[in-house]
Symmetry: C2
Subunit: 221 residues, 2 copies
């Protein structure tokens, strides 16, 4: 298994390849690799029993491929946690370091890191850390943008995008923060929220509000 093959598995996983077919195009876009090259690599992964490829229909992970991908996500997020918690990295800056370290991380090293970090449940921007055996709980897909005015919600996770995270760092928003939604400004204007315990309202851009997921199951309360 090479780092590139691992990145293919991971992006397929992140695009939902565990439970649906993902397109060649999305993989190509996600990795920044030409579509033709994706077809070629997918056929190799298929030969290795890691993905199922129905030509012109889509690509999904086999059980084996999914387990492999989850382990990689685990390693990625353990490194992110290490960098923030122990090395005091800014949470917007950890992704690129983890992106390469993940491929050079033995299972033994992952276990040792996990112990050292005292078994974190989620990475710094809220992504759940799969167990060593590749298990991971379902996550919420409810967007902050979709919360109702007046509703109090808890932030769960942010998409792992440098610009978004830098923006959220400035707003001092973190996973697990509890916020009250004041209103949705019209014309794709910002979402106005109030952080728990503070009374100065905060503007969260329309776009950002679509890249933040909130905990499910506390719809109006």
């Amino acid at each position: 298994m090479t780092p590139m093959k691992e990145d293919y598995l991971k992006i397929i996983f992140e695009l939902g390849g565990s439970h649906k077919k993902v397109s060649n195009k999305d993989i190509s876009l996600g990795l920044g690799i030409a579509a033709g090259s994706v077809t070629e690599m997918v056929s190799k992964l298929s030969d290795e029993g890691l993905v199922v490829h129905e030509p012109y229909a889509g690509i999904s992970l086999t059980e084996k491929g999914q387990k492999y991908a989850a382990e990689l996500v685990r390693k990625h997020r353990l490194w992110e946690t290490f960098l923030v918690d122990k090395l005091h990295y800014n949470f917007a800056d950890v992704h690129s370091e983890a992106e390469v370290l993940e491929h050079q991380t033995s299972d033994r090293l992952a276990t040792a890191l996990d112990n050292f970090l005292q078994h974190p449940q989620a990475c710094p921007h809220g992504g759940v850390i799969p167990s060593a055996s590749g298990q991971f709980p379902d996550v919420s897909h409810r967007l902050l943008a979709d919360a109702n005015d007046g509703e109090t919600v808890q932030l769960e996770r942010f998409l792992d995008n440098h610009e978004l995270l830098t923006y959220l760092e400035e707003l001092k928003l973190r996973p697990n923060d509890t916020v009250k939604v004041i209103r949705h400004e019209p014309f794709e204007g910002p979402l106005v929220i109030e952080k728990d315990g503070e009374d100065t309202p905060l503007n969260v851009s329309y776009k950002a509000s679509h890249n933040i997921f909130i905990k499910a199951g506390n719809s109006d309360k």
Copy 2:
């Protein structure tokens, strides 16, 4: 710069390429790569101004190549220190992990690690850690095997070889230990030593005694 090119630079550095010419053969042996491939890669490194290659005579590092190699050694040894000090790895087991992590370590990450580890001077088996700018002090080349009977010496560093380190782990010998040499047994027999403060003598195999370096300048005292 690719990981393989980095490993070429590093082995040349370790073979003494900063101050003398090293042979194609030694590089080939050190990396386990065919001699023909070494010639090819060396000519690329030469094109990049990292090494000087005199055909049939040998290969040495340029200033630039030496600095690069030293940075790599720094990253390698910082990781080894991290693994032993923080993740409680056995000091015989860290080399292979560091061998791959070193190539994925940004300067920023190296700096952060160095701070986290509180600026260690040497890796777990005594190898000196170059500064961020690639500076490193001279090290002793005096072998434990060459110490005189009755002499008290301080261990400085061990060669980074898994079997040797496992052996020394069992003997509970560490860099900086002070030991008194009792006698050299004949016919390549063991060196009998006594650890400072203990009175049970220890046998150190002939071979091991030739892979342990002691601090210079305390010859009989």
